[in-house]
């Protein structure tokens, strides 16, 4: 290579929305570096456990290493406990794994989506060094600045400071949430150069997991 690829980031956009009995995790499939597109068909959503899906934006090599690390940990957990890790447990593990490299971080901006032990949708949002929070919905990546305000407007999450605590999950139905995700990505694609090509949506609910795809603008 003639010169160092200083812009190695594959920023893209990832979104997750939690519902009363479902969870939607979505990401586009474009991988770019600088102003070039490397590939149009790269999946950023990784199945960590039956009920935990992680979608990450940032530096792809770090994301891959992080996914492998967590998958390996999960395999050991399954051997030791004879069951799958729950989503909140995986959320804590991810946070700890990220903080472990606090002084040489994984350049990964993650969103973890899944169903908790009661079957309710849960979404956890992270920064690169592991601080996390359970929320009703989240967006990360290059399109997050475009997507998050729109989700705030449409999903009107109650303040976490309210007492008694109000559920953060959205009252929208699964179909409505998926439509919202599709709308949001179509809009982000218009204005964000790193978002586009194809949208991959993972829907988790009581019946299992379902994958859906939608074409996005390729420019």
């Amino acid at each position: 290579m003639e010169d160092e690829q200083t812009t190695f980031l594959t920023l893209l956009s990832v979104v997750a929305i939690a519902g009363a009995d479902y969870c939607v995790v979505a990401a586009d499939t474009r991988m770019s570096t600088g102003y070039s597109i490397l590939t149009r068909g790269y999946s950023k959503i990784c199945k960590l456990a039956d009920k935990s899906f992680m979608a990450s934006s940032g530096f792809q090599a770090d994301v891959k290493a992080l996914q492998k690390h967590l998958s390996a940990k999960h395999l050991i957990y399954q051997h030791q406990h004879n069951k799958q890790m729950s989503c909140p447990a995986m959320a804590q593990l991810l946070s700890n794994t990220l903080y472990y490299k606090r002084f040489f971080p994984y350049y990964a901006f993650n969103v973890l989506g899944g169903l908790d032990n009661e079957g309710k949708g849960c979404v956890f949002t992270y920064d690169a060094v592991g601080s996390y929070e359970r929320v009703g919905y989240s967006a990360q990546g290059s399109g997050s600045t475009l997507i998050m305000p729109f989700l705030d407007n449409q999903l009107k999450s109650p303040s976490p400071l309210l007492l008694p605590a109000v559920d953060a999950v959205t009252p929208l139905s699964e179909g409505e949430a998926i439509d919202l995700v599709k709308t949001v990505f179509a809009s982000a694609t218009e204005r964000d150069i790193y978002t586009g090509d194809r949208l991959e949506i993972v829907v988790l609910n009581a019946d299992g997991t379902r994958y859906e795809y939608m074409e996005l603008r390729k420019d």
């Binding site: 290579m1 160092e4 190695f8 597109i37 490397l38 590939t39 530096f59 792809q60 090599a61 290493a65």
Partner: protein, 242 residues
């Protein structure tokens, strides 16, 4: 102290001298695509030393094991070191003598881990690698960059190829290309690179990998055309401009 800041290429402080700062002898683009029976890969045979075309018979594509073909651009010495690592990997794989052999997916994974870990030690192998292969009928084509970014696709290209060849491939590649069509498409990409990439040489090899094995062609040159009328009298529009 100030001189080292101004000229990092000269004397480095002892702590820094052990890691790769920039590449010296480099190869330019590698282009590859999937076709009906397997993978086709093309690379020229140039090794540039900065702006000098120092070496003109560098083989930048090598077979790995029974099922894979590796092409590299970037620092040639780092590529040679990678070949040593892969040699050892394949040797140990063969020593199991269990009828299994490492396929392209496994080699790609291994290369990704090696590149990523070197990057984490701030001592990268300065290469962009293209790994293609066929195992049990499954075609595989992937790429790893010097910082460990990796992906798989139907066609890949490194360096300038990513800018010049990929658009052609995106337009004209399709599933089930025949061998001749694949070669024509690759040659089209390599010709554009020859015209437009300063470090390209007109001596290239095309390699093919199928279920049967690897074939790397003899080096040959592409036909080029320079007979444009504008080249006949280049200063026609600007005589005496100084």
């Amino acid at each position: 102290m100030e001189s080292t800041q101004a000229n990092p290429g000269l004397l480095c402080s002892p702590e820094d001298s052990q890691r790769t700062l920039y590449p010296y002898v480099t190869g330019t683009s590698v282009v590859a695509l999937k076709y009906k029976d397997g993978i086709l890969m093309a690379a020229d045979m140039g090794g540039s030393y900065g702006s000098t075309l120092r070496y003109k018979s560098v083989e930048r594509m090598k077979p790995i094991g029974k099922h894979s073909l590796l092409g590299a651009s970037g620092e040639i010495s780092d590529f040679q070191e990678l070949l040593k690592y892969l040699d050892e990997l394949i040797l140990y794989d063969n020593m199991w003598d269990d009828g299994n052999s490492l396929g392209p997916k496994e080699i790609h994974n291994y290369l990704t881990r090696v590149m990523y870990n070197r990057r984490n030690k701030f001592d990268p192998l300065w290469n962009s690698l293209v790994l293609g292969g066929v195992k049990k009928g499954q075609k595989y084509l992937g790429m790893v960059s010097m910082i460990g970014v990796n992906f798989e696709d139907n066609h890949v290209a490194t360096g300038f190829g990513n800018h010049l060849a990929r658009p052609i491939l995106r337009d004209e590649w399709r599933e089930d290309l025949s061998f001749e069509e694949g070669v024509k498409l690759l040659e089209k990409c390599m010709r554009v690179l020859l015209y437009r990439d300063r470090s390209a040489v007109n001596k290239l090899q095309i390699a093919k990998i199928t279920e049967e094995g690897v074939t790397i062609s003899q080096p040959y040159a592409l036909r080029t055309f320079w007979g444009f009328s504008a080249f006949q009298n280049p200063t026609a529009g600007a005589e005496g401009s100084w």
